[in-house]
């Protein structure tokens, strides 16, 4: 990113190769719709091109890119709100989001997929800001300081957002556990 910001246009391919998977994954987790995430990734990278001159030398590129991707996502949410069909498209997105999970027919895998579906639905029901904070900290591996910068919030505010998101998702998972009678909670990769 530093080379690209200095004017080396050839570095763009490398920026995209290294940055696009992370940006796309971040956006997919926010909107639970791979097709929409792809569109927003394109939008985010157009913004990254335009803003390359503002990238500060020596800074970490990932939080900067994620902050721009977040701006693209929030603009999309605003546009959808104006069209008054955000909820409809979000619900549609949930089902499409689940369809990109790895398929596995074993019993444990089926239960795991159900749990993931519950987690995904709980995530999508969160207010956008809580969802962003949770995704940045839990899935994108950003530190609290980095996440707060990406969110344009104080560290305390970011922590509160994550805490609230955790409460909601945990309640949803607990409800699912009770309904099944067998707890299944994993932090590792899903089979």
């Amino acid at each position: 990113m530093h080379r690209y910001a200095c004017g080396d246009d050839g570095a763009l391919d490398e920026v995209y190769r290294l940055g696009a998977p992370r940006v796309r994954a971040f956006l997919a987790r926010l909107c639970a719709d791979l097709a929409l995430a792809d569109d927003l990734t394109q939008d985010a990278f157009l913004r990254i091109y335009r803003a390359r001159g503002t990238f500060v030398a020596g800074a970490s590129a990932l939080p900067w890119m994620l902050a721009i991707a977040r701006n693209a996502f929030r603009d999309h949410v605003r546009r959808e709100r104006v069209r008054r069909n955000y909820q409809a498209s979000s619900a549609e997105g949930q089902s499409r989001g689940q369809s990109i999970l790895p398929d596995n027919s074993s019993d444990r895998a089926v239960i795991a997929r159900q749990m993931l579906g519950v987690a995904q639905q709980a995530l999508m029901k969160l207010p956008v800001r809580q969802r962003e904070a949770f995704v940045l900290l839990r899935f994108e591996g950003l530190s609290l300081d980095e996440a707060a910068q990406v969110l344009g919030a104080t560290q305390a505010a970011a922590k509160i957002l994550v805490h609230r998101a955790c409460v909601v998702i945990r309640e949803a998972l607990d409800r699912e556990d009770k309904g099944r009678g067998v707890p299944l909670r994993t932090s590792g990769p899903i089979p």
Binding site: R29, T41, L46, R47, A51, V56, Q98, M115, V150, T186
Partner: protein, 229 residues
Amino acid sequence: MKHDFDLDRTADFPDPLAGIGELPVPLRPASPLVRPPTRSRVAALRASALGAALLYEGVWLAIFNKRSDLSALPRTTLAAEVAIPLAAAGLALAAATARGERGMGAPKGRLAAWVLLSPAVFVAATLFAGPPDVDIESFWRHVLRCFLVTGLLGLGPLGLAAWAFRRGFVAAPAWRMAGLGVACSAIAAASMTFLCSVGSPAHVLVGHGGLMVVAGLGGALFGRRLGEA
């Protein structure tokens, strides 16, 4: 609210899209037809904007009649009157344009504190340094005239700042644009010192400093649209 919430506990939650990083990404979008500015070009553009803003102030100061008591005014008094708004401008400008530890500007809390501190410094220093209030028959007429002239003096810097920093902030653009608004109007307030001889703190605060509030709020309202990258 639990501020002591342990963030490591988020690791308990499963990742619904754990394998997404391995999926192939779509082709990258074509580069824009117009080559985006490089870092050095952005820096040069912003420096030029600052220079042009100062030139704009100088031109108006040359056009307008100076205050009648300018030659009789002690140098230290004049310097103090100019330094107060300039200090406020420096604070707000530093807050808005700070690169921050991660290159995304100052953290939100510090940014907000500095942006709010800037007009607070102006108010406190004006009240402290200004001469006691004198009865002015047509207070509001004078205030309105000075407010309009300050607006004219601030118009150039505000426009130049909006242009030079358009789509330039990846995070907290509203606060950063508010900081730029406050800084530009504080520069205009400093210029007003050479034009207006009314030293009453109430007059200076409302007539010369009122634009800081207006421009700060304007920056906060339109900052996201103008300044967000």
